[in-house]
Structure formats: structure tokens, C-alpha cells
Amino acid sequence: MHHGRERVSEEGARRGGGGGGEEARVPEPEVNSQLSTSTQRAAAAPSAPAMDSTSPEPSLYTVKALFILDNDGNRLLSKYYDLELYPSMKEQKNFEKNVFNKTHKADNEIAFLEGLTIVYKSSIDLFFFVVGSAQENELMLMSVLNCLFDSISQILRKNVERRCLLDNMDGVFLVVDEIIDGGVILECDPQQVLQKVNYRQVTESGYGFVLFDYITGSEEAQGQRSQMP
């Protein structure tokens, strides 16, 4: 709703201003060729911001986005806390695709893409990403990523793989909600997160339950069947 708007615009201005105290000078062609600059600008619009950074603004809004992708780069869970970063779903998914393509081959832990710092981690067929601004303290982002990974790992009882994650999606949503609130780091200690979420895994003995429900002919099992045709 109103998460971190103000900061974003400041940041935009600062990005535009370049770094190192030097003037952001656009090397311009002569006056003559400016007569038709509208087309030129259109061509120049999608440009990557520089990584030359100024010092970070004091703010609690640390995380710009967080997402979990599968090994084909498909989104399983995504949160964008900075609404002006990638406002449309299409831009978000393009960004995720780009990040995935550039990172999934080597487990390098950290990357810098589209003017953003991205820390990441993978496990079997899952990829976890935490995104912050170019100025952000990389170690802060790492602590968020580690907390996310460890909390989810415990919820999934160390089975950090796609199927298990999807079976416990409610728990994963709750974990993310306890770690980041609107871009602010809410909690960074996995034990605290787990305690707050207080989640019990249901699916490990999932088939057993279903069979049990079936044998006892419980109403719930029938409902289950009808929703998974």
C-alpha cells in the first residue's frame, strides 16, 4: 500500500545522479541533432543503472524482493516489496527469468543484475533469491537469505525440494511473512521464525492419512478426493 514509496523515488534520483560526486553528464551530440531526440530517448530508455554506488540511505526498507523458483525458472513464490521496482507481473517475471538464467548454472551466492544486488542459494530443484538495492549491505541480505533457507529447511524437515515445498506451501507463505514485512526485516533468527509460525508438517505421512480417511470413510477424505480430480 504505502511501503517504501518515498525511498524509492529518492533512490531513483540518486541513481540518475550517478556516483562519486561527479556530475552525471550526458554526452550530448550537437544542438542540431537534438531536434529529433524523442526517438533517441525511446531507444535509450531500458538502460541498466550503474553499480557505482553512493552511501545507503538510513532506512529499514532493506529487501526489495524475494522469490523462490524451481529448476525451470518458474515462480513458486514471489514477493516484491518495492512497488515501483517492477510494477507489472510481466516485468517481474522477466526479471525472474533474467536472474535465473544468469545464476542457475553456478552456485555463486551473489550477483549484480539490473542495478540490483541479488544473493541466492539453491537446493536440489529449488532456487532462493533475495534482492536489495545496489547500495545495500550484502551481508544483511545474506542474513535474510540464510534465515529464509534455514526456516524452510526445518519446516520441510530438511527435504528442501520442490515437491515437498509445494505440499507445505501454507507454511512457506507464513515463514516468508514472519521474516519480511513490506521490505523490513522482521525477524532474522530461524528459531524465532519457527516459533512464531508454529507450523506442523502434515504431508510426510500424507498418503497414510488419506488411506486412513478412506478406510474410515471420513467425510473429509471424500472432500479431498473431489478437489483433486
Binding site: M51, P58, E187
Partner: protein
């Protein structure tokens, strides 16, 4: 039945996605069971998860269906299943913007937030604040205040963070909670401490005094949370920056002490803050650099990355400070994380010796294709810096760059390369032809209009003066045939320059121009027709004025003047000389070296500094009728930096007047100054006409007062003058804490340093891209020449620097750069004198014992020539 189950088991076992083929309508259909009694928590939970999953995938929910599902969901508050309740909170947050009447759940959430179940309270607060606006916020204000100071950390944290989110929309309400936030800041819980600090800062960030107090308190008492420490470091460094506090300030000591914190995150934050401070000395940087050096060998990639990125930043300004880390950086150039390797290599390129360049370039070429565009730009930047440092390496670099230019890459990357090649061409005349050839090849297949026009412009400027200009014509005319309008128009302009400069090419250029006159785009046709007609006249002066050296007026200024002219139509034709000149002309020597850091072209031509002054001055009634602002000087300090009152002056020159703008800052927190003026006593026949005082000058809030002076009419050659300045004001003592002033005050004054007006204040810099043509255009009607001996000057560089700064004119043709080991040099300067006459200076310099200088001045007005010559002598 059994068969059906087997099938399902297979599916679930094969790792397929249980959410894969979810249909929104089917899920919403299922959501009807929310209304069944008794509530089945497991099934409802599953359906809510599906809804959130769909929303997260970007599925669009219409308002009606969302509202329907939302209302059905509210019934689930009757269940006491913990996970289900938590998922309800999530659903509320996710649907807050798409469903109507979400405030229906306010009372349920308020109940949960104040209830006994601690697990519910924090999340309920966060969900509630998500759906609450300013008016409703007042109703729950009491609960929020209580929650902020609640002893359960998750409740307190949730309340603090939610308050922070609401500062934007409901600042006035949230600021009333400052005392509660203050109390929370002393909590034992590290996250509560962090969140409270963040909220306090956001509420107080515009009150510097309050921020200072807060910093004092927390830096003394110490904090537990490493996050809070990072926040404090950022606040401290921002405050240092704003107050321009010296590095002996306690704030700097605090940041430095954080270098010894036991948490890496804090240590890194402190090191980074020190590195980013402007004007840090090498000695102050040293401790920060040594912790970064340690991080370089960390097993954590993120830490190595952070360290080497920051060291790279240090190396830009203080390469020598980083040399101590060279060994550690060498170890990183083979790092499996290519980002780290790239940063390490580019840092080494800045700090290493000339002999290591070839080896490092070879290393980086081995993986340049693997790294992202952002890092390629970093590589190009490093190369660009290297070329400046070791001009002899330019052929290696040029090769490397041309290979990079052929690879795939985005706009930003290609632009960096093109800029770098252009700067090499300009620094090293012998590389010009190779460089132009690479660029010609590049525009043959270039998708970026901006780059193509830029290169065409360069070809037009440099091409005609190469030994074989005809070979560029083909490349340029190809653009006319193949490209978009903007590129075609630029190509036409470039062609015209070949025709104007090279007589033997003129006939062929005219033929090509004729074809362009039939272009489908009007801009291209107009340009071709215009150039065709100018070229056919075969007059050097016309060529100079309309083909080589275009307009030098400020574009926003021209727009404004024309608009003004159309509003008040008159018999008089529009006078170009009344248009303010473009300030900050495209300086030839610097443009291309500007960092590639510019991320976006500005949406609009940003108004220049002078345009802003023009607006500000025009708003003061006393200054109306002075005509257009001709020139604004750089600020001149009239006090030492550390005095009670800090005053600097900006000299604004108009056609017959000057306005002196005094920017004053009162650094005494126990004084309020009123009716502040700067009294000026001129040494020449300048006449002070009017003072515009600054009404109030409270502590640390800058204010401006002005003095209007008339230039001597009867003696146009009196261009220099010294003013003795005195600051006069009424002092009212006040309480340093509240800023409340006493009722009465007393007059006082403060002597400032003298202010000089020199010939440079009367001349505006103008860049003539083709000086020779401009020289011919002005003609020798009022040419005068004199020879001077500069006995005290020892080098040509020094002489050039002195003349440029003394006359305040624009060096052209890069003549301000004296080639090494030369004993003579010619400097070309161009400018416009107050009143609108072009002024051109050619200074031939010869180095013998001292420097001998022969100055030739040309202008359209004799007085201008006399003034310039007189002032040089």
C-alpha cells in the same frame, strides 16, 4: 475407486506441481465450503493456500469474485485452528487492494491483537494496519501505543514496523507515538531495538537537532542488534555529510569504532561508510581498507564480493591506499564467482603498474563473455581510466575494445565502449584513424539510435580533417539509405561538414544532398535543403556559422524568449543576442571521460544552473527589467569555513548591471539574525543601486541577500573592480534548545573578505567545435595583437591554465592540453562578451626562460578587443 487412488499416488510421487492446473473459477467454487458448519480446518486451509498461490502467480481476480471470497473467508475466524487463522491474515493482506469493504474484518483483527493468544497478536496488528487508513487509525491508536511497548517482542516489533509503514500516509498520528517508540528502543530484544530505532529516525529525520541527540544517546549506551548498529552508522554518516562535520567529530569516531565490532555485518557497514565519505584522507581510509583486506580471504562469497567491490571504489580515488591489498586481490582474479574476479581485476588495473596491464587484460578476456553487462561496463571503465594513466597502452586497449564492440551486449555496455573509444581518439591523435574505422564498422550494424547519431556527429567533426576524408562518406551515406529518421538526419549533418571543409568533395556531397532532399521525413529533408543552400554559397563565414559551429544559446532559454516574443509581438525582429547562452558548454576535454555512471538520459533537457538562477532572480521585484541573465559565476567564499557566519557570493552579470547574491549561513545556535545585508564599497565607478536584505537568518538555515550594482556606463573598459564587503544585521539572542528569540536585539556587523570582479565575469564560455572556421567568420576587422612575457611562469601547462582561468573563456580544439616535451603551443579560446559579441583569442606560447606569449584577439566589436588585451596586460 482404488484405481483412482493409484493414479493420484503416481502423480504425487512423480514430483508434479499440485497447484499446476489450478483453475481460478474452480478454486472460488470450492471456497463455498467456508460457509459450511462445522468448519473443516484442513480443507479450508488448503483452499486458502490455493487462493494465495494463484494471486502470487499473477492470476487476476475481479472485484466481485474477490469480495465474495473475502466475505466467505471472514467466517473462518470462528475456527480456532492456528495455522488457518494465520492464513486468514495473509489472505486479508493479499486481498486488501482487490476486494471491497475489507474493513469488515477490523473488529475481528482488533480482538485478536488485544487477545490472549500471543501467536495471533503480532500478525493481527500487521494485517490490521494494512487495511487501516488515517481516520480509522485514530480509533485504534490506544491499542497501537500499548502494542509498541508490549513485553512480547513479536507484538512490539509488529506494531513498530506497521507504524513505520504508516508514517507515509498518517505522519501526524504516528508521530504522537514517539515516546512509546523511545521506550521500545531500550528493549532487550534485538529486533525490537532495531525497529524502534528505524521508526524514531523516520519520525525525526527532518529535525537535525533531534537526530543528533538520538545518535548521542545510542552511540553512548550501545546496542545489541547488529542491524541497529548498521542503521546507526548510516544515520551518523549522513549527518556527517550534511553538517560537513570534520573527521575529528565524535560521529566519525563512532563509525571508526564500529570497525572493531565483533559482527562482520557491522564492520563492513562501517568500512563502507568511511570509504563513501567525501574528502577522506589516505590515513583515515587505512583502517577501513585493512578490514576489507581481511574480508578478501573470507570463505563467504558475499563477503568477498562486498569487500572487493568497496576496494574497487576506493581505488578510483585513492589507488595507493589499495596497493597493500594487491596480493589478496591477485588471489581473487581466478575466483569462481566471475563478478568477484572482474572486480578484483579492474581494481588491480587501477592500482597495479604498467607492466601488469597486459597480463590482466589477457586474464579478463578469458571470461569476459561470461559476465553480466553491469560488470562489462566496470571493465570498460577501468580500461578508460587506464588509457588516461598509460597513454602508451592505447593500442592494446583499442584492440580489446573493438573486440568487445563486436560481441553482444546491451545499450549501456555499448555506450561505455563507444565513449571509451572516443576518449582514446581524443587523447591520442595517432589512434584517430583506427578508432574511427572501428566506429564506422560498428554503426554499420548498430541498433542504438543514440550511439549511431553520436558516432555520426563525431565522424562529421573529425572525418573531414583526416588525410583521407572520402573513405568515411560511404559509411555515412549508407546510414541515409538504411536507418531511422534520427540517424538519417544526423548523417545529413555529418555529410554537410565534409562538403564545407573539403572543396574537392563538395560536388559529390551536393549530389548526395540532393537525394536526401527527397527523403520521406521532413526533418531530414529540411536539413538537406538548408545545408544544400548554405553549401552552394561557397562562403567560409556562412559555413562556419551554420554548419560547423551551430547555435550556442541555451535551449530552454531560447524556448522561453520565443514564447515571450510571441506574447508581445513587436515590429522589431527577434534578437538572438537576447537569448541567454548555454552554460556549461560541452567541454571537449571532459565529456568523454565522464563516468559511465549516468543511468538514464534525462526525460527533458534539465534546466542548467543558470536557468535556475534566472528564475530565482526574476522572482525578486527589484531585479525586473535587468534583461536576460548573462552569466553566473561559481560561488566565491567570503569567510573561512569555520567562522560564526559563513558567506559565499555568486556574481550574476546582466547587460548593464551585476547582482551579487550572498548565501549566508548562521552557525551560532543562540542567535537569530534579521535584516541581513552585505554592504559593498566599490573601488571603481561602479554604483550600488539597491540592497535586498534577508529578513531572517535562523541557526543553520541558509538564506540569501542581494546587492544590485550598476556597471559604469561612460567607461565600458572598466571591467574589473574590487569591493570591500561588510555583513550588517540585527542580532536577537535566543535559547539554543527551543530557538525562541529574545524580544529585542541589537545591530552588529562582521567584516568579510574583499570581492573581485574581473574580466572573466563579463565573458561567457562558448565552445566552437571548429575554431578555424569561427576565426574566419569573425574576420580581422578589429583584430589586435600584442606580445607579453610571463616571467614568473615556468611551464606551458601552467601558462595555459592561468590564461584560461583568467579570461574565463572556453578552450577549443582541445588546445588546453599541451603535448609533452614541446617548447611551443597554440591556445584557442572562444567566448561571448557581455552584450552578445563573439570574442576569440589565439595565444601562441613559447617556452624559453619564462614563457613568451603572443595574443591575437578578434571580435565583432572593437571595445571588446581592447578590453581583453588591456586586461591581459
Amino acid at each position: 475407486m482404488i484405481k483412482k487412488f493409484d493414479k493420484k499416488d503416481e502423480e504425487s510421487g512423480s514430483g508434479s506441481n499440485p497447484f499446476q492446473h489450478l483453475e481460478k473459477s474452480a478454486v472460488l467454487q470450492e471456497a463455498r465450503i467456508f460457509n459450511e458448519t462445522p468448519i473443516n480446518p484442513r480443507r479450508c486451509l488448503h483452499i486458502l493456500t490455493k487462493i494465495i498461490y494463484l494471486l502470487n502467480q499473477g492470476e487476476h481476480f475481479g472485484t466481485t469474485e474477490a469480495t465474495e471470497a473475502f466475505f466467505a473467508m471472514t467466517r473462518l475466524f470462528q475456527s480456532n485452528d492456528q495455522t488457518l487463522r494465520r492464513m486468514c491474515y495473509l489472505t486479508i493482506k493479499e486481498m486488501a487492494n482487490i476486494s471491497e469493504d475489507v474493513i469488515i474484518v477490523t473488529s475481528s483483527l482488533t480482538k485478536d491483537m488485544t487477545g490472549k493468544e500471543d501467536v495471533y497478536r503480532g500478525p493481527a496488528i500487521r494485517a490490521l494496519c494494512r487495511i487501516t487508513d488515517t481516520t480509522m487509525l485514530q480509533a485504534i491508536e490506544r491499542y497501537m501505543k500499548q502494542a509498541i511497548v508490549d513485553k512480547v517482542p513479536s507484538v512490539s516489533s509488529s506494531a513498530l514496523v506497521s507504524s513505520l509503514h504508516m508514517v507515509k500516509g498518517s505522519y501526524d498520528v504516528v508521530k504522537r507515538w514517539v515516546n512509546e517508540a523511545q521506550e521500545a528502543a531500550s528493549s532487550d530484544n534485538i529486533m525490537v531495538q532495531y525497529h524502534a530505532l528505524g521508526l524514531l529516525y523516520h519520525l525525526r529525520k527532518n529535525d537535525r537537532l533531534a537526530v543528533t541527540k538520538m545518535l548521542n544517546k545510542f552511540t553512548k549506551s550501545g546496542l545489541k542488534s547488529p542491524f541497529a548498529y548498521c542503521m546507526l552508522i548510516r544515520i551518523a554518516s549522513k549527518l556527517l555529510d550534511e553538517t560537513e562535520g570534520g573527521h575529528d567529530s565524535p560521529l566519525f569516531d563512532f563509525i571508526e569504532s564500529c570497525l572493531r565490532n565483533k559482527n562482520e555485518m557491522v564492520v563492513y557497514e562501517a568500512a563502507s561508510a568511511i570509504v563513501h565519505m567525501p574528502n577522506c584522507t589516505a590515513r583515515e581510509l587505512a583502517p577501513a581498507v585493512s578490514v576489507l583486506q581481511l574480508f578478501c580471504s573470507s570463505p563467504k562469497a558475499a563477503l568477498r564480493y562486498a569487500a572487493v567491490r568497496t576496494l574497487n571504489k576506493v581505488a578510483m580515488k585513492h589507488p595507493s591506499a589499495v596497493t597493500a591489498c594487491n596480493l589478496d586481490l591477485e588471489n581473487l582474479i581466478t575466483d569462481s564467482n566471475r563478478s568477484i574476479a572482474t572486480l578484483a581485476i579492474t581494481t588491480l588495473l587501477k592500482t597495479g603498474s604498467e607492466s601488469s596491464v597486459d597480463r590482466l587484460m589477457k586474464q579478463i578476456s578469458s571470461f569476459v563473455s561470461e559476465i553480466s553487462d553491469e560488470f562489462k561496463v566496470v571493465v570498460v571503465q577501468a580500461i578508460s581510466a587506464l588509457c588516461q594513466k598509460y597513454p602508451r597502452k592505447h593500442s592494446v586497449m583499442m584492440n580489446f575494445l573493438s573486440n568487445m564492440l563486436r560481441d553482444d551486449g546491451g545499450f549501456e555496455y555499448k555506450r561505455a565502449i563507444v565513449d571509451c573509444i572516443i576518449s582514446i581518439i581524443e587523447e591520442n591523435p595517432e589512434s584517430k584513424e583506427t578508432g574511427l574505422a572501428h566506429l564506422c564498422e560498428f554503426i554499420e550494424d548498430c541498433e542504438h539510435t543514440v550511439l549511431a547519431t553520436k558516432i555520426l556527429h563525431l565522424l562529421g567533426k573529425e572525418g573531414p580533417r583526416t588525410p583521407q576524408p572520402s573513405k568515411y562518406i560511404r559509411f555515412i551515406f549508407n546510414r541515409v539509405v538504411l536507418e531511422s529518421e534520427a540517424v538519417r538526419a544526423a548523417a545529413v549533418s555529418a555529410l554537410a561538414k565534409f562538403g564545407a571543409q573539403n572543396d574537392d568533395l563538395l560536388p559529390s556531397v551536393l549530389v548526395l544532398m540532393q537525394r536526401c532532399m527527397m527523403d520521406s521525413d521532413d526533418e531530414v529533408r529540411d536539413r538537406a535543403t538548408f545545408y544544400m543552400n548554405v553549401l552552394q554559397q561557397k562562403q567560409k563565414a556562412l559555413n562556419a556559422a551554420y554548419i560547423f559551429n551551430g547555435l550556442s544559446v541555451s535551449v530552454p532559454g531560447l524556448e522561453k524568449s520565443l514564447h515571450q516574443y510571441t506574447l508581445e509581438p513587436s515590429e522589431k525582429p527577434f534578437d538572438m543576442k537576447s537569448v541567454p547562452l548555454a552554460t556549461a558548454p560541452i567541454t571537449e576535454q571532459k565529456t568523454e571521460m565522464a563516468p559511465v555512471a549516468t543511468s538514464k538520459l534525462p526525460e527533458k533537457l534539465a534546466p542548467s544552473r543558470q536557468d535556475i538562477y534566472q528564475e530565482q532572480l526574476a522572482a525578486i521585484p527589484e531585479f525586473q527589467g535587468l534583461g536576460p541573465l548573462f552569466k553566473s559565476s561559481e560561488p566565491v567564499q567570503l569567510t573561512e569555513a569555520e567562522t560564526e557566519y559563513v558567506v559565499r557570493c555568486i556574481k550574476h552579470t546582466f547587460i548593464r548591471h551585476m547582482v551579487f547574491q550572498f548565501d549566508c549561513t548562521n552557525t551560532l545556535n543562540d542567535q537569530l539574525l534579521q535584516k541581513v545585508v552585505v554592504q559593498m564599497e566599490p573601488s571603481e565607478s561602479y554604483e550600488v543601486i539597491h540592497y535586498v536584505p534577508a529578513a531572517n537568518l535562523p541557526y543553520s538555515q541558509p538564506g540569501s541577500c542581494y546587492t544590485l550594482v550598476q556597471l559604469p556606463e561612460d567607461d565600458p573598459t572598466a571591467v574589473s573592480c574590487t569591493f570591500s564587503c561588510t555583513l550588517k544585521y540585527l542580532v536577537r539572542d535566543c535559547d539554543p534548545n527551543t530557538g525562541e528569540p529574545d524580544d529585542d536585539g541589537y545591530d552588529d556587523e562582521y567584516v568579510l573578505e574583499d570581492l573581485e570582479v574581473t574580466v572573466a565575469d563579463h565573458i561567457q564560455k562558448v565552445l566552437k567545435p571548429n575554431f578555424g572556421a569561427a576565426w574566419e567568420e569573425v574576420g580581422d576587422e578589429f583584430e589586435k595583437e600584442e606580445t607579453f612575457a610571463l616571467a614568473s611562469v615556468r611551464t606551458l601547462d601552467e601558462a595555459v591554465g592561468n590564461i584560461v582561468s583568467f579570461l574565463g573563456m572556453q578552450p577549443c580544439e582541445r588546445s588546453d592540453k599541451v603535448p609533452e616535451n614541446k617548447n611551443s603551443h597554440v591556445l584557442f579560446l572562444a567566448g561571448v562578451f557581455r552584450g552578445g559579441h563573439d570574442a576569440l583569442v589565439r595565444a601562441r606560447l613559447a617556452l624559453a626562460d619564462g614563457v613568451t606569449m603572443q595574443v591575437t584577439v578578434r571580435s565583432g566589436d572593437e571595445t571588446v578587443v581592447d578590453i581583453i588585451l588591456a586586461s591581459v596586460g
